[in-house]
Amino acid sequence: MDILITGTVLGGTYALIALGLTLQYGVARIMNLANGENLVLACFCAFWLYSTASINPVLGIVLIAPGAFVLNWLIYDFAMKPLVNRAKNRGQLEVDSILATFGLMFIMQGVMLLVFGGGYYSYNFLSEPVQILGENYGLNRIVALIAAAVIALGLYVFLYRTRYGTAIRAVSVNPSSASLVAINVERASAFAFALGGALTAAAGALLSTFYTFNSSMGVIFTMKALIIVIMGGVGDVRGAVLAALLLGLTETAVASLIDPGLTLAATYTLFILVLLFRPQGIFGRQEA
């Protein structure tokens, strides 16, 4: 039971990061390896807001997510668009964007190391226990899980029930056909990239309430998010959420039953299984 709840909370946060990444990769076609740094930056912002202005981190999302939206829009406009325009095919854009976002990742990491140092940070927010089915859990984790669920649900409604959301999904299926039906592909890509960044930042703010973070942990989260995206199928919201929960539960189970040092091995085992048996993702369809 303990594993179930802790795993779900972890999975909920993973889900938000992975949703951010799947939007960026599925729609804007940018494999953003700096997304984990985005997350860590949001952790630090939430920490800073809470410790200097005592702004509740969950409400802080209202400030942090739009900030991340603007930042990521600028990143897309200045750094990614030249690559998109230069690339002759999708493969080249993939290689170029991977290398460029590696650069971005190291730059963001370097700046955070200079500003915050390499130490570990955490703060106390709602750390009183609540009882669920006779066992104690930190209230902050439960709040984070609920907030993550609300945000993910909001995204789902936006993508599947609104006009612009449908347009974004159309771009993710086929950019050149989307432009034939009068969708501004360039703007939709930029929007999806920025929205993905905002989602990740929201995940970061939630994560910071119960997780000890430092400047250089971003890449681990990027990697896990990438694995979730692949497991769920690129651009697939339901798949990403399911894969994230699966990964969160597996990791927690391995950490508490076998050894906390083997979480990554568990992640990789899942990853290899998916690659061998369903490389198109859990819900993905076979490509023609």
Binding site: M31, L33, A79, P82, L83, G91, E94, V95, D96, I98, L99, A100, F102, G103, L104, M105, F106, I107, M108, Q109, G110, V111, L113, L114, V219, I220, T222, M223, L226, I227, I230, D259, G261, L262, T263, L264, A265, T267, Y268, F271, I272, L275, L276, P279
Partner: protein
């Protein structure tokens, strides 16, 4: 195998003379410059081995640190039991095996899967090694005591570099190399003319991984104390990618053009501003992607082409007159 052409013979003679000249470095200095030379030789081998696979396939491998660490660990575990040359062979086999497994799992799919998989590979191996050591042996660290100094390491690296260059040259002449060039230009065409694309990629990845493993093994005596975080340091993977891309991946010798300047630059930055190294790596990545997408060697070729065009244009003018 056909006989060597005159041009190839000339290059071979030049290369041998060059190697011989470089091999005398330890006779002149055994302090800073020797250790810098060891670093340059180290990255030259790593980057060239990396380029063997990633050059023609355009797959960005970040597994360097994993293979390197396996090599280092092989020596750390076996130095008291087995002679050093045997350990080098074991290191090659072990990292080649890992490369084979990773290759079989990921190289049938598109490049993104491969990048993601290799991104965490070093960390994964590190976790597993740490776990095995803490649970089944006493203590995490290993001592490597040998009577090998910097100069011996340097000479071994040079010899390995020679082997890598010859192997790369032989691959280029072989059916495999020809197949790789076709795959690199257009994978669909390669499939249609009957090349087993996945098999060719896996073979090349194994060769590249094995060389990187041996490099790690050779470097082990330099570390003296081997533990998982230092042996599987992921920064190596990124440095190798930057240097190789900076030099260019189209030619066998091209990575060298990136290795020499970047190693010196990195050495200077990390000794003077140790907190700025990740910034440097980041800026270098961005600069290469935006300004030097084909590396220094690509730039040289472009310049040559421009000059060649001017030259032929001038000649044409003369002819008209």
């Amino acid at each position: 195998m056909t006989r060597l052409s005159e041009k190839e013979l000339r290059i071979a003679v030049l290369a041998i003379v060059g190697f011989a000249a470089v091999a005398t470095i330890p006779l002149f200095d055994d302090g800073y410059y020797l250790s810098l030379s060891v670093n340059i030789a180290l990255y030259a081998v790593l980057c060239t081995a990396w380029t063997l696979f990633s050059g023609p396939t355009h797959y960005i491998s970040l597994a360097t640190a994993a293979f390197f660490g396996i090599g280092t660990y092989t020596v750390g575990l076996g130095i008291d039991v087995l002679p050093f040359p045997v350990l080098l062979v074991i290191a090659a086999i072990a990292s080649g095996l890992l490369a084979g497994l990773v290759g079989v799992a990921t190289l049938r799919l598109s490049g993104v899967y491969f990048v993601i998989f290799t991104l965490g590979l070093a960390e994964l191996v590190r976790q597993v090694v740490t776990w095995l050591q803490t649970n089944f042996t006493n203590g995490v660290g290993l001592y490597v005591f040998t009577d090998m100094g910097e100069k011996h390491i340097f000479w071994m690296l040079l010899a390995l570099a020679a082997v890598v260059y010859v192997t790369g040259w032989l691959i280029n002449r072989s059916r495999l190399g020809f197949a790789m060039r076709i795959i690199g230009n257009d994978e669909l065409v390669a499939r249609h003319v009957g090349i087993d694309v996945a098999r060719a990629k896996v073979i090349l990845f194994v060769v590249s991984g094995a060389f990187i493993g041996v490099t790690g093994a050779i470097l082990a005596p330099r570390f003296a104390y081997v533990e998982p975080p230092s042996a599987f340091n992921p920064v190596i993977s990124f440095q190798v990618v930057i240097m190789a891309l900076l030099g260019g991946t189209g030619r066998l010798w091209a990575p060298l053009l990136g290795v020499i300047p970047f190693t010196i630059l990195f050495d200077q930055i990390s000794s003077r501003f140790p907190n700025h190294t990740s910034l440097l790596i980041g800026v270098a990545f961005m600069a290469i992607v935006y300004f030097l997408p084909r590396g220094v060697s690509g730039l040289i070729e472009d310049l040559r082409k421009v000059r060649g065009d001017f030259g032929s244009a001038a000649k044409a003018k003369e002819a008209v007159r």
